[in-house]
């Protein structure tokens, strides 16, 4: 009998738990440890942030589902990792602390045979002075709670605009090293469409602010894509959309401080500038959770497990951008020191960025961190689960399932406005996610045809279809496993 513990119940953790439970017999124990009581379908947060969906439509409680499916659930947060156990406990364990109920504050050693660290990122708002969701007129759509607040703030501004107020709206990244530009891109287009719907578009100046060097970088160094019968750069496609929607942009901006209605940033020329706004949605930096790890003798071994995020089978050798290789990226998400620990999704430490790193004239790093959200999170979680299942069934380590982001396709269905007949979406697929310049030297490291873009109403329907399909899948309803990650 094996016990598999999964830390986190987001896209990655929940996918891993679902597949493990489906494929392993009941003698094996699957336990999820998460401080959150709900599963949330994060990609739909942007619709909560424009008031077109209620947060209850994108979430459901985990405890009843896990009870029904025989998955153990502890509503607790991980405190520290003990991959060798300790003087008292022979088995490896994670020290966890309950966050709710009678046991709130009680710490427990959660032992395991296999550990999946799917804790995702810490939303590091503290990294930017004054960037606090819901204050200083800045908001976030990173969680459903944040998105609810964002809609409250935006709706208030819309009502003022209806009375004649001119407003400035600022949307983008809130830190020089932030990632997840895609979510901000979706939100700015949705906000723009909502303002048109409320007939106040002419009262607003909308500005995109980002740490990207070019529009359409998305933390993936941009891409060359097929669009209709043309081949164009993602920067050209996004520029076309922004100009058509009358959205201004500020690029190469590392937001460093937020005050009430003021965003202070440094640009790549080393200039310190300020942009005023009446409403802002800025994506924070992502960071690791700062977990500590200890060996059997209680010595600190954090650097064996963590490099900010968790260390996996990547090549972390420091090298210049020109020497980066697609082979640097992990394939199995297994920790090299402790072979029974895995970190899929956002929890693994990337070997380096994907976008070319850039510094301002003052030496400040201003460029996007690599994205691992959404589809790669699900795919990597499933392959980790499959390797663990194989290892248990064969009785020896099996790592047949591999999934490097350099050999994996991803779809980004970006909503560009909500509405069954008036909605719009920008559908972009990219293959591979991490460009392979040796395999595809003439198309910026990606395969044309498999890397394409489309704009139109169908994109909105697709995003809506994915919303319902993935919530169905997450609820583990009949034949849920037929829906791919």
């Amino acid at each position: 009998m094996s016990k598999i513990v999964i830390l986190g119940a987001g896209i990655s953790g929940h996918v891993a738990a679902s597949h493990l439970r489906r494929k392993l017999s009941k003698e094996h124990e699957v336990v999820v440890v998460s401080p959150n009581s709900n599963y949330q379908w994060i990609p739909s947060n942007i619709w909560v942030g424009i008031g077109r969906m209620k947060s209850k439509e994108i979430l459901f409680p985990l405890a009843p589902l896990y009870r029904k499916k025989n998955i153990g659930f502890l509503q607790a947060k991980a405190i520290s990792f003990h991959p060798e156990g300790d003087a008292v406990e022979a088995k490896p364990y994670v020290l966890s602390e309950y966050v709710i109920g009678e046991k709130k504050g009680v710490q427990e050693k959660v032992t395991y045979d296999y550990l999946i660290n799917a804790t995702g990122p810490k939303l590091n708002f503290e990294a930017t002075d004054g960037l606090i969701p819901g204050s200083n007129k800045t908001y976030s759509v990173c969680t459903y709670g944040h998105a609810d607040h964002a809609w409250h703030g935006l709706n208030g501004l819309i009502q003022e605009m209806k009375k004649g107020k001119k407003a400035k709206i600022l949307i983008g990244t809130g830190h020089a090293k932030a990632t997840c530009q895609g979510a901000a891109f979706e939100y700015i287009l949705n906000v723009e469409q909502e303002l048109r719907k409320h007939k106040v578009r002419d009262m607003a100046e909308i500005t995109w602010i980002s740490n990207e060097y070019q529009l359409g970088d998305f933390g993936m160094d941009g891409m060359l894509l097929s669009y209709n019968s043309m081949t164009m750069k993602s920067s050209e496609m996004v520029e076309m959309i922004f100009e058509d929607r009358d959205i201004k942009w500020i690029l190469g901006a590392g937001v460093e401080k937020i005050e009430d209605g003021l965003a202070h940033y440094e640009n790549l020329d080393g200039e310190h500038k300020t942009e005023s706004y009446d409403f802002a949605m800025l994506i924070p930096a992502f960071s690791g959770h700062g977990f500590k790890a200890f060996d059997k003798g209680n010595q600190d071994i954090t650097d064996k497990l963590f490099k900010g995020f968790m260390i996996v089978d990547a090549d972390y050798t420091s090298k210049p951008y020109e020497e980066w290789s697609v082979q640097d990226w992990p394939e199995t998400y297994q920790n090299p020191s402790y072979k029974n620990i895995f970190a899929p999704g956002i929890a693994f430490a990337p070997p380096h960025a994907i976008s070319k790193p850039r510094k301002s004239k003052n030496g400040t790093d201003i460029s996007p961190a690599p994205p691992r959200t959404g589809m790669p999170s699900g795919i990597t979680a499933k392959l980790v689960a499959d390797n663990i299942i194989d290892s248990i069934k064969k009785g020896k380590e099996s790592l047949e399932h591999k999934g490097s982001m350099g050999n994996m396709g991803a779809a980004c269905i970006a909503s560009a406005g909500y509405g069954l007949t008036q909605g719009s979406g920008v559908s972009i697929t990219t293959y591979p996610i991490v460009p392979d310049y040796h395999k595809y030297p003439k198309s910026q490291g990606r395969k044309l045809g498999k890397t394409f873009g489309e704009i139109g109403l169908a994109g909105h329907w697709l995003k809506l279809a994915l919303h319902y399909a993935f919530i169905y899948k997450a609820k583990m309803k009949p034949f849920w496993w037929l829906i791919p990650e």
Binding site: M240, V326, E331, Y431, L462
Partner: protein
């Protein structure tokens, strides 16, 4: 505001009948890209 998307292009982007077929086409194409498999990058061939 610069009209970068022509009226004809916009008509095609928003026409429900055209977009219905586009929806089917995109669903299949995305499925091929995403469910088309994934693997490692380090094998020496």
């Amino acid at each position: 505001m610069t009209e970068r998307i022509s009226k004809y292009q916009r008509f095609k982007m928003m026409n429900p009948i055209i977009q219905f077929f586009k929806f089917i086409y995109l669903s299949i194409k995305i499925m091929i890209v995403v469910a088309g498999g994934h693997g490692g990058t380090r094998e020496v061939k």
